[in-house]
Symmetry: C2
Subunit: 415 residues, 2 copies
């Protein structure tokens, strides 16, 4: 396994050097060929996907899991649409970020370059195979993909199609590779191949990410942990509050930008909670409330301390009363995963305070946390939502898959 992974690393690194020399038109031609060949092979993709689905049903995977695993005609066409969006994005590579002439005459420029080789570890969602490969290629990187074992047939089919299509148009050998073994030891190799891999991007559950962080020596970008809060201030417009809370909690409860905890200023609980509680209950949301707020909720159960630190990813909402915006900020500071938080308020000073002091990737005033994604922020695709502060923060588009270098043109300068 070590040798198999090492070979992949060598190939990926070689390919990344060839990608440095590839212009935007060549990359777009490759991407267009991939889009075409996916459309030409819809039946094959669905046939291979069916093998995964059958295994999944035998393993009694949950309906939600099976749903994410399923490729339909429409979903395959959406993947192709995604490729065409990426074709239309500006190429970030080669952009001059800054430049000046040194007083000794040297010209110093900082330019944007690819990261090099990306190691991507993701859950059993086959569309990520294509999304990640495409974003990686457009930003001039090689990528080694490791998808969830329950999607292995789908991933192999998609990887085979896009690699074969790409090679027809000059995709370098090794620029896109899929790990075909589902053995965990492959991951352990991947995350310690510092000679070949420049960054590891894990997507998926908390335990996977913690295992990777504790063993990785290659730099890791953490993505997608989303324990998001909404704080309803003393000065909130309660109609806005109700709309936003319902949207943030119920429009898609399983995603990372969904809201998990509602904080309410004590002066707002009696006006807000009876109406809000009724509406949320009608939408099937389970409410877990603290001592002060539970009195105003018809169907709530008492919250425990554990609730404040739980990302439900489900139709469950925890509700806590606070006595001040400072208490709200402190609660968020302690429990948040630093993804997205919102304040509902018409008070200028409080909104400014919240925007300044909340240390999360996206901080909202009077809007739903559900907007935190690459699409809404105008990046075209996204490879994940970074919840760490180093390198990239928030939705990661192709710019976030780049690094910089300095180039210096002199004529004999010495120091």
């Amino acid at each position: 396994m070590k040798k198999y992974m090492n070979n992949m690393g060598v190939l990926a690194k070689k390919a990344s050097r060839k990608l440095l020399q590839m212009d935007t038109n060549s990359k777009n031609n490759i991407l267009e060929e991939m889009a075409k060949e996916i459309l030409n092979n819809i039946e094959f993709i669905k046939k291979e996907n069916e093998k995964d689905l059958q295994k999944g049903r035998e393993k009694k995977l949950t309906p939600a899991f099976i749903d994410r695993l399923t490729l339909t005609d429409e979903r395959i066409k959406n993947m192709v649409q995604g490729i065409r969006t990426v074709i239309n994005l500006d190429d970030p590579i080669g952009e001059t970020l800054s430049g000046f002439r040194h007083k000794n005459g040297m010209e110093i420029s900082q330019i944007r370059v690819p990261l090099g080789v990306i190691g991507m570890i993701f859950e059993s969602r086959p569309n990520v195979t294509v999304d990640a490969a495409v974003l990686s290629l457009k930003s001039g990187n090689s990528i080694i993909l490791r998808g969830g074992s329950d999607a292995i047939f789908s991933n192999m089919a998609l990887a085979k199609i896009i690699i074969k299509a790409g090679k027809k148009r000059g995709l370098p050998d090794g620029a896109i590779q899929l790990i075909e073994y589902t053995d965990r030891s492959c991951v352990n190799e991947l995350i310690t191949m510092n000679n070949f891999i420049d960054v590891i991007i894990p997507r998926g559950g908390k335990s996977l990410k913690e295992a990777i962080l504790s063993k990785a020596t290659v730099p890791v970008i953490e993505t997608g942990a989303g324990l998001c809060h909404t704080y309803v201030d003393q000065y909130a417009d309660l109609n806005i509050a109700i709309d936003i809370i319902i949207n943030a909690k119920t429009s898609r409860p399983g995603v990372c930008n969904a809201m998990e905890t509602l904080l309410v200023h004590n002066s707002s609980i009696s006006n807000l909670l009876p109406i809000l509680g009724e509406k949320l209950s009608a939408l099937g949301v389970e409410l877990r409330a603290d001592e002060r707020s539970i009195k105003y909720l018809a169907n709530a159960i008492p919250a425990t301390n554990n609730d404040w630190s739980t990302e439900y990813l489900d139709l469950i909402l925890s509700i806590k009363t606070v006595d001040s915006i400072d208490e709200a900020i402190e609660h968020i500071d302690f429990y948040s995963t630093k993804h997205s938080e919102a304040i509902i308020s018409e008070n200028y000073r409080n909104t400014q305070k919240f925007l300044r002091e909340i240390d999360s990737a996206a901080v909202y005033v009077n809007a739903s946390t559900r907007f935190t994604d690459g699409g809404a922020f105008g990046f075209g695709g996204e490879i994940g939502i970074s919840t760490q502060k180093l390198h990239a923060r928030g939705p990661m588009g192709i710019k976030e898959l780049t690094s910089v270098k300095y180039i210096i043109r002199g004529n004999g300068q010495i120091r």
Copy 2:
């Protein structure tokens, strides 16, 4: 020890929230007071430094080590000068990097924010205590400093002075902290305190950095590994080549941007090496040459394979003959630490190829690699030179100690 470190983490994080609210003038006032108090305490600093020096002489530390450890009046004044340079730098915090109005009316901006809490682990150079604390404060970060044990008295004295001075002007408790225990277990705690620390920046030897990388769960920025190459092309101006090589090798051999390996195109060896070799030998440089080049060098010894991967940090130079620019690039790609590389050439195509294909933080045409530092690049101070591609690459100034966040102002938008 765990409790001691944990307390530091809690304090640092609290302080980092207070720093978010501090304006530039307040930070500059604190820095000015630190500068003044260092000047007021020169005798105390030298007395404490003498304790370290005495221990060092008893331990028979090398003269170079003792030299780096020594604080003189002039060096202390240089530290103060460094603080005043940082005072004059623009504050990066709060800068709007991009912003637009979403089609639904929300205003989305990406703004620059501090990283939060920095853990800095460094060698026995007491000036780093002050440099790092000052850059960290200007960029709105808390910092926990862990200096080499041989400089502990000097570091404690300097930390005591700047913290006391800072507090007079409103420096938050815990914004600057020095680990006073020299126990290695402190480091192991520091690099795994993900709840409190946002980034670890290690400076120092290779073994220290490898130990940190293998154990850290907090993101690490690697700095300062510098196996730098200069390639003399077939089309080089040999006078320029000689000046640059002598400068890059001998002006300060112990630093990371000094040159370690010279690559020479076979068509240039007979003209370049006899003259160059004589000059380098006269300057005390030991030459280790491959089979083809050694014939043109009066005082060289044969290079072994080990030489190509050794960062000497000393008056030693390895010399290798190559048959093409591609061979030079491949050699660099394999052995370089991705710090700084130079080509000496008057050929347009070759210089363009080298700039594009060499994957290092700084790539030079016809100039000495010695220019890679924050001063030369116009950043004022520097906290290290990143040799990784994530987050920061090349000299790290105060901008590299920042992150970003998105702030979104809406009026009830839902998705």
